[in-house]
């Protein structure tokens, strides 16, 4: 199968590869896919007090299209408000990267990774706010490890 130039570009020069500390309160982590299915994406966001995604990082186990989809996803959500990033769809990614039908699931996984990271961040934020509303003691950081969310494929 021939890859589109954009897939090759993202694959060869992946943007925003790396990790953010998942324990931090301003970081949301999404881990989707499964090794047995040949795709695992971990996408992380760091969100500021205005709800803007200041940084996004990814690591992906998968084919070129999966790596390109996650690279593009981080590029697109950086600088966006979380609610705006939450509206990004897989078809936008698939269109931009010109993915063939057999690779659409890669873009679905990237969308799931974004949503899962945002959800993780919101969960931490809500827990923090609830805690701040009841008691004003030191905040216990969330120790829950990132869980792989369901991803349609």
């Amino acid at each position: 199968m021939a890859y589109s130039d954009k897939v090759i570009d993202h694959y060869e020069n992946p943007r925003n590869v790396g990790s953010l500390d998942p324990q931090r309160e301003d970081v949301g982590t999404g881990l989707v896919g499964a090794p047995a299915c040949g795709d695992v994406m971990r996408l992380q966001i760091r969100v500021n007090e205005d709800g803007v995604i200041e940084d996004a990082r990814f690591k992906t186990f998968g084919c070129g299209s999966a790596i390109a989809s996650s690279s593009l996803a981080t590029e697109w959500i950086k600088g966006k408000k979380i609610d705006e990033a939450n509206t990004l769809t897989n078809s936008q990614i698939a269109t931009e990267l010109n993915l063939p039908p057999v690779k659409i699931h890669c873009s679905v996984l990237a969308e799931d990774a974004i949503k899962s990271a945002i959800q993780d961040y919101k969960k931490k934020r809500d827990a923090r706010e609830a805690l701040a509303g009841s008691v004003s003691s030191s905040v216990v950081p969330s120790r829950e490890p990132a869980r792989a969310e369901a991803a349609g494929k």
């Binding site: 040949g38 690591k59 186990f61």
Partner: protein, 407 residues
């Protein structure tokens, strides 16, 4: 010699045609182009003589007693179809049971599936973790309804060489026919239909540096005489076994390829094996978490099937795009299922997705091996740096302990 890119290391898929084979074939396209079935003129006679000479060469190549036992086909897929369906149809009054293994080529497995839909029963013997079939399991599966056992000589993905001689002893003793898909192994490992008690054998030219589009089925003519129901209707060529004008140029090329294998095979295989071992050692010396798929010893000299943990196979192939190899990763097929061969061997699915198959052949060089090894090492390291699974591994997290969502 300067390295030429891209490098071809996918010789299980197909092989380039040896220039000497091309040379032998050329006259049969233009000057001696006759139809081997034309009995009334010199053009036909010349073509027929070439075909009959080729039959004898093929027979010698696999240890058959006569060229009359060779039926030319369009390739191995057709040969496998003809052997399995043709024998099942002919011997159906004797029994309706066939035995094969879970790692056969699709042309064997799908022929069996079709027979099942027609009322036959098929037992699929599971292979051991090293990819080898246990002859005792075949023996236990034989019933008084069994008419045919089909086992490949060597596997196309992991290169494991099956104990055909042992299986042949069993099938002969139980008066069951033995078909062997010898496509990947013939010329590369010992194969002799007489001493191994093989009754039907499929071979093809393009895996041994001959042209595509020409294969043959060996059909034993005595003790026992094997009969088939033809699967192609028409002029009754090939003693009624396979109608269709013979591909004379292809047949001549096939025979030349066999001749070269007969004379050069032993030394060539030793050279290829040394290259394969060099490739493996060079990779393993520089990378951790690399596993060999398939038996260590009983494998084709040119086969190296490795899983690179935490890296996905298709992603890796994209990184080494100047090197032609193949992967058991799902992403190479439309089904998204990883290799059924690796799965049948009980390999974890993530490792099946992480596999690469290197197929070395006649035209590979030491310089190519070194280049490929170093490139693979470099790219695996790079991809592991962006793999979340590798990060978890380094942090001591057991990937199997995570509740992954199936998708």
């Amino acid at each position: 010699m300067e390295l030429q890119l891209p490098i071809y290391m996918d010789n299980h898929s197909t092989t380039p045609v040896d220039p000497r084979v091309v040379e032998a074939m050329l006259p049969y396209f233009s000057s001696t182009f006759g139809n081997a079935a034309s009995r009334t003129h010199a053009f036909g006679w010349t073509a027929e003589a070439a075909v009959e000479h080729a039959r004898e060469t093929l027979a010698k190549f696999i240890g058959a007693s006569s060229g009359k036992e060779m039926v030319f086909t369009s390739g191995a897929t057709e040969a496998n179809n003809l052997a399995i369906k043709g024998a099942a149809e002919y011997y159906q009054t004797r029994g309706n049971h066939l035995i094969t293994t879970t790692i056969e080529h699709k042309s064997v497995l799908d022929s069996c599936k079709r027979l099942e839909r027609q009322g036959f029963e098929v037992t699929y013997i599971e292979v051991e973790k090293n990819g080898l079939v246990d002859p005792a399991k075949i023996e236990r599966a034989i019933t008084d309804k069994t008419i045919l056992v089909s086992v490949m000589l060597a596997n196309n993905e992991v290169g494991t060489i099956q104990p055909i001689a042992e299986i042949g002893k069993i099938t002969r003793a139980r008066s069951v026919l033995l078909h062997c898909d010898a496509v990947q192994g013939v010329g590369k490992t010992a194969f002799d239909v007489e001493s191994m008690n093989v009754d039907l054998a499929s071979i093809t030219a393009h895996k041994i540096y001959g042209p595509k589009g020409i294969g043959a089925l060996y059909v034993r003519r005595s003790r026992p005489r094997v009969r088939l129901v033809s699967q192609m209707d028409g002029g009754g060529h090939e003693r009624g076994n396979r109608s269709g004008t013979l591909n004379v140029a292809g047949i001549v090329g096939f025979a030349k390829a066999c001749e070269l294998m007969l004379s050069e095979g032993p030394s060539e295989n030793a050279r290829i094996r040394a290259l394969r071992d060099r490739l493996r050692q060079r990779i393993e010396a520089q990378l951790e978490q690399v596993t060999l798929n398939g038996d260590e010893e009983r494998r084709l000299s040119g086969n190296l099937n490795l899983s690179f943990s935490f890296v996905e196979g298709e992603g890796l192939m994209m990184a080494i795009k100047d090197v032609a190899v193949s992967s058991g990763s799902a992403c190479t097929s439309a089904s998204l299922e990883p290799s059924y061969v690796l799965k049948a061997m009980g390999l974890d699915e993530d490792l099946a997705h992480s596999s690469l198959r290197f197929g070395l052949g006649r035209f590979n060089t030491e310089a190519e091996v070194d280049y490929v090894a170093d490139l693979v090492v470099k790219k695996v390291k790079k991809l592991r740096e962006i793999s979340p699974l590798y990060e978890m591994h380094q942090q001591g997290i057991d990937i199997k302990s995570i509740q992954w969502a199936a998708h």
